[in-house]
């Protein structure tokens, strides 16, 4: 099973990639763990950033589903969401 990760600017900077494709994660928590272990120090920075960043799966915040236990399906987009404002 493959999912796409949409990263925030800060995450992209930390990991050195604009987007990521991951094979295998079954939950949102798996996604964070996988990236953290795969990228070493940068992965640890990524994990820290997830603590100030909301997470959405296909546009819906996981807060309104099962949180970090939200299950993923083939082709899902896991997006990290920063608060922003403007007009």
């Amino acid at each position: 099973m493959s999912v796409t990760l949409q990263l925030t600017y800060e995450m992209s900077k930390a990991l050195g990639v604009p987007r990521l494709e991951l094979d295998g994660p079954e939950t949102v928590a798996d996604v964070v763990r996988t990236v953290e272990s795969r990228f070493g120090d940068a992965g640890a920075d990524f994990a820290k950033l997830t603590r100030v960043t909301a997470i959405a799966v296909n546009g819906v915040l996981v807060n309104y589903r099962r949180g970090m236990k939200t299950r993923l399906g083939e082709g899902d987009v896991v997006a990290f969401v920063k608060a922003a404002a403007g007009g």
């Binding site: 949409q6 925030t8 600017y9 992209s12 604009p18 987007r19 997830t50 603590r51 100030v52 960043t53 909301a54 997470i55 959405a56 296909n58 546009g59 819906v60 915040l61 996981v62 807060n63 309104y64 949180g67 970090m68 987009v77 997006a79 990290f80 969401v81 920063k82 608060a83 922003a84 404002a85 403007g86 007009g87």
Partner: protein, 627 residues
């Protein structure tokens, strides 16, 4: 006269080049503050129903408020009010730049421009001499907004139109410096009067009730803004373009004429990308604003100019499926120079692209391809060829070519860049906002989809309550006249710093979501001034303004706008959303689109309207609205 006001209205008659200074009505100022509120009252009282928005009977009202001319951050904006040629209903727009400051220095709270000149004209107002000069503007006619302002010089403060206004493009705006009063076609009304520019000067100072407290408190607020995660960090670093990635992640970034809510190349048109790849020189701001949300970019063949804002990045980027920041910057410059609203322009372009895709109309542009767009923008501004059709906006285009179900407007005003299928309160706001499909008449999306503490945007809880509170607040803000961005500071830093995936955050969001009518009750309470704009207004005018007072004043303004629209023939049937938004889903868990039908009756009830969306006599009486 109440402190904070100059106490004068300047009336100018272009048909005979005459003018008169009249006293500001204190009673109206107390009820409607100034800016959009006072302007709406004047428009309602001075015009009968059914006037031609592009005819001589439509007055063009420039209105400031008591905060203008002060050093309060985000306070140098003016409002323009008139009947909208785009919607046929209430028209208004606000603008930064320096014109508001110029008006207050000239000792003018409100400028009313009536009837039409026989030939292109420009006006110079000297507030110190109480003098108005009328000049032939034949040499300026045809010039862009940048060149026009350059010709007029830096001694005065200007409000000008470009060729789009001259040619009465129905979404032409009025420009001050690099900022634009963009929405509802106020620039077309100025063009219909053959008025190219208004320039003001003077040396008067704002008279305040308590200048010491005002100064002391303003220093405090500047520090608060500087430390605020949105106003002092995100917007300062990345401008409003920071919303692109957030809206994309929430699946509400208009893409391909709202066919989708996410765009694969969103990052390449984001504020963050702009910061890394395109930004040149200093970040810019309106006078006295510490936020610096503007940024400069280089446009080939032009040089350094104002860069695109979020709305432009989305409506002329993702919504056209074009992930090319250089081209969007170029189009943004073209639109600014021609003097056009990039929201309505972008929506008109995407509508033409979809008509092309369906084989209905070949305007020479197609999704994903920047070829031909620059030329078409110029043609729209000059009403050449097919550009003449696009200059009339999506509603009229759909009446001519069909495709009403994917013409993305409400009441004739094109939708802003927050897809309401992922932001239900924003959808109710779009449907009910008096000027049409606009986001800055409430900005409900901040409470449910892009802000730091967001409720579930896709259930029915609070979705008929938040728009009422937000619309009322925006009416008050637009009457002071402040920038709507000031309201983004209301959610404190501590909330921004919470882990959005934590139980504490979820509990807080859930509690907020379940407030129900308590939200409106709490917001309506009249206590001491708490927030900065309440305190500024109190220190300047000497009257006490709390959140409750502002809710009441905002409701008064909103209902008066509603009465104006009803008088023009609008009905509850106009409180709707485009068919695409109502019936097509962009989320896998939704069978259909926005559930407006379930929310509208509750919204009407919350507003004190009958089932047909008409304010009841009791509501009008409670709000002291004279009809």
């Amino acid at each position: 006269m109440i402190k904070g006001y100059a106490g004068r209205i300047l009336e100018i008659d272009l048909a005979n080049c005459s003018f008169a200074f009249k006293p500001l009505d204190e009673a109206i100022a107390r009820l409607y503050i100034g800016g959009k509120g006072y302007g709406t009252r004047l428009l309602y009282d001075r015009t009968p129903a059914g006037i031609d928005p592009l005819g001589p009977d439509n007055p063009l009202i420039f209105a400031t408020g008591p905060l203008n001319g002060s050093v309060a951050p985000q306070s140098n904006r003016f409002a323009v009010v008139c009947k909208s040629p785009l919607t046929g209903g209430i028209g208004n727009a606000t603008c930064g730049g320096s014109f508001a400051l110029g008006m207050k220095k000239a000792g003018i709270d409100i400028l009313i421009v009536e009837r039409c000149a026989a030939a292109p004209i420009r006006i110079e107002i000297d507030g110190d001499r109480d003098e108005v000069l009328f000049h032939d503007a034949a040499e300026l006619w045809g010039k862009g907004t940048y060149a026009t302002q350059e010709c007029l010089g830096k001694k005065q403060h200007h409000a000008v139109i470009g060729p789009a206004g001259e040619n009465q493009v129905l979404y032409a705006g009025i420009v001050s410096n690099e900022r634009i009063a963009g929405r509802t076609g106020v620039g077309a009304v100025m063009g219909s009067k053959r008025l190219k520019a208004v320039s003001v000067q003077g040396s008067r100072k704002l008279d305040m009730e308590d200048p010491e407290k005002f100064k002391e408190y303003t220093i405090e607020v500047r520090k608060l803004f500087k430390d605020h995660p949105v106003l002092g960090n995100s917007m300062k670093r990345f401008g409003t373009g920071a919303i692109v990635n957030t809206a994309n992640a929430r699946n509400i970034l208009p893409t391909r004429n709202f066919q989708r809510g996410s765009f694969s190349e969103a990052m390449k048109i984001s504020g963050e990308y702009l910061e890394d790849h395109e930004l040149r020189g200093v970040k810019s701001s309106c006078i006295h604003c510490p936020v610096t949300c503007g940024r400069d970019v280089d446009v080939e063949g032009v040089g350094r100019v104002k860069g695109p804002e979020y709305e432009t990045l989305a409506l002329m980027g993702s919504n056209l499926e074009i992930g090319n920041l250089k081209r969007i910057s170029e189009w943004n410059y073209l639109a600014d120079d021609l003097g056009m609203d990039t929201i309505s322009l972008g929506a008109s372009l995407s509508f033409a692209m979809e008509l092309h895709e369906r084989g209905v109309l070949d305007a020479g542009i197609s999704f994903g391809d920047p070829e031909g767009v620059s030329e078409l923008i110029r043609d729209i501004g000059h009403r050449h060829g097919i550009g003449d059709d696009l200059a009339n906006g999506t509603r009229r285009m759909s009446e001519k070519y069909g495709g009403e179900e994917f013409a993305m407007h409400v009441k004739g005003l094109e939708l802003s860049a927050y897809d309401p299928r992922g932001s239900f309160a924003q959808g109710v706001e779009y449907a009910t906002t008096n000027r049409g499909g606009c986001h800055v008449q409430g900005a409900s999306m901040y409470m449910e989809s892009v802000g730091p503490l967001t409720i579930n945007p896709q259930n029915l809880k609070l979705k008929a309550d938040i728009p009422v509170v937000q619309q009322n607040l925006a009416c008050a803000i637009n009457s002071m006249v402040l920038c709507i961005f000031t309201t983004y500071g209301i959610i404190p830093k501590a909330v921004h710093e919470m882990n959005p995936n934590s139980l504490r955050y979820r509990a807080l969001a859930l509690a907020f979501e379940n407030m129900g009518p308590l939200l409106r009750t709490a917001m309506g309470m009249k206590g001491p001034p708490m927030l900065w704009f309440e305190k500024w207004l109190s220190y300047i005018t000497g009257s006490k303004f709390s959140g409750g007072h502002l809710q009441e004043i905002g409701a008064r303004i909103f209902n008066l706008e509603r009465m104006y629209n009803l008088r023009e023939g609008f009905t509850a049937a106009d409180d709707t959303l485009p068919d695409r938004i109502l019936h097509e889903s962009t989320f896998e868990h939704m069978q259909s689109g926005h559930p407006l039908g379930q929310l509208l009756p509750k919204y009407y009830k919350n507003r004190g309207w009958d089932t047909q969306g008409v304010p009841t006599p009791r509501t009008l009486e409670r709000l002291q609205i004279r009809i």
